[in-house]
Amino acid sequence: MGSRSISAGLTAAVIGILSFVPFLAYSPNRVAESGSVFIWEIHPTLLLISVVLMVLSLFSTRPRMAWLELYLPALISTGALLILGSSAGIIPSAEASTARIGGSWGLWGWILTAYLYGSSLKRSSSSLMMVIGVTLFFLLSGVLDVFGPVREFAVKEERFFTEVRAHLSLAGSATIIAALVAIPAGIAAYRLPAFSRPAFAGVNIIQTLPSLALFGLMIAPLSWLSMRFPLLRELGIKGVGNFPALIALSGYAALPILRNTYTGLKVIPAGAVQAGRGMGMSPLRLLTLVELPLALPVLLGGLRIAFVQAIGNTTVAALIGAGGLGYFVFQGLGQAAPDLILLGVVPLIAITVGADKGLKLVEYLLTPKPFRRENDTL
């Protein structure tokens, strides 16, 4: 009861304070400096939203109103997005087609507060799901069209989806390729201890190379190869684009998979392995019936880690022509357009979190029943 009141009280206080700092940022065009926009400048009545949210926060501490806390994050987000949506009204008609609104301390502060509060709840997943739902609703309804990143999106919509697809398939393919190499290598390292040192040394060295350098290193030899052997070019093996990106990304994805395969196998109870051998299982049967199934949870964890890391690493792939969400980040950097950068980064974060949670669910489902722990889905 005590800690709940504290967090509710803190939330109310933060919401209140942030109502008086610049809430949004207004730019007449894409390159001009943005000016602060306070809530009351949009419309004084919007301050009621702050008041309502503060009251609801404090109300949630009352014994019978405890159910309110589940909805609070979604409500705060709704308030923030409503204010954002209403801000279209302050744009002078002369600048209507080029002006854009961005977030400032207030908006981001509210959203951060909503997220932190939601994460602290016991049923945090449901609460945060509601926030996502609210955000999607606002986005799709067109109310947020003045928002900077949304404006950038409107201009580059088709490209956006192309790059999202490219990004996912690059990261996914890299993970699969890495798995095809690293899982057998992990099994080999487990069965033949002499092999484990060189195997780990190999993947560790790759990890130490900065991604940009690794991509760059790929270009020269692959270009040379594809020029010498036109057949390779036909097959899609060139110095720039998907192929070098895939090689580099697979290299990075190898370590978590190798390490988890090896560790997963090592922590299997030795008694079970001995019993299996002693009762007449061939090495292959032992692997498929006993060792791999018992190592599976850890192994799947390694795949998940590799994929989530790959999503991040793929961002740099845009620099060598492989596309992906990094395209927006680098264009935004080059044009000094932070909204464009956000258009790349925010979906990236969403995809990363989504992939992580989604794969955790898959892991849970594929874990043999005796080993499941209930909190694994979160």
Binding site: G271, A272, M279
Partner: protein, 372 residues
Amino acid sequence: MIRFEGIRKTYDEKQALAGVDIELPTGQISVIIGPSGCGKSTFLKLINRMIDPDSGQILIDNTPVLSRSPHELRLGIGYVIQEIGLFPHFTVEENILIVPRLLKWTEQKKAERLGELMKLIGLSDGYRGKYPHELSGGEAQRVGVARALAADPEILLMDEPFGAVDPLNRSVLQDEFAAIQSKVQKTVVFVTHDIDEAVRLADHLVIMRDGKVVQAGAPEEILQKPAGRFVRDFIGADRAIKRLSLFSLRDIMQPVYPARVGEPVPPEARDKAYVWVVSKEGYLNGWAELTGRKPEENLGAEEVTRVAAAELAVFETSSLRTALSRMMGQGIRNLPVLNREWQLVGQVNLRDIEQLAGSEGDLPKTEGVSVQ
């Protein structure tokens, strides 16, 4: 029949087995025992080719072990280890039926066999779907034994199988294993470092030291005639009492003629100082004094001194050693003996035990195994 001929095995400078020649009889429990490092575990592992010897050969029913592939060999030999090693991701049922599954038995055959085995190890059907982590140590090792026996192998190898179980349950498991063996009659090779366990279970006892067999034979023989200082010391100074473990009460108990309330005392009991009193069904209720009463009179309930059967009585399958222990503990010289259904079937007196302990084992054992 398992025969070792001239077996030698060296690990890293240490000679684990330095020339072993021995024959283990078919259908009996051979217990291999000795101090740590005597080579007993290595001995066992050579039989199912977990290890191969440096020189010499091992023959199972006159076929050299090396002539068969390890996997094929092991499929026909049951193997129980100290860690138990149940597969944590398989249910009890799946664990037990693993070798039949490897041998591709039909579903029907597997189902039948499972039923048989569950009964054999004394676990109810409710256990089939449980996972190893839900089982106690004793239950788990029973499953381990069932798993080893599932494909009905001729030979069963057991490497300190009850070592990971607490002492209380260990006795129970030893009992039960002996009962199982009496039904299945496998050739068992059993390694342990516990001399009491060895004496209790062995038909054929093999004592090893420093990679060689020091003495082998029936446990009685070894207890009475230890070959040399080492064996004598190894068995321990309480040899005579250890010997008592070899016999069960069934072998020496005296007949008993209990009285029932509301009936006259049976004639055969009338010359004693007191009589045991049972219920209509034969369960022990207590005893009644006979001095100074008319024997033809019906026994009144008020004449009975009630006793708690569990504290006082012993089972007919218990060993003399247990009986002696109970007598000492309760401070009495005469114990009622019950069958497994708790009915009174006999009695045993301290005198009977003394006689046996003093004799040179001239009482024949009625069955092939001794059980407690």
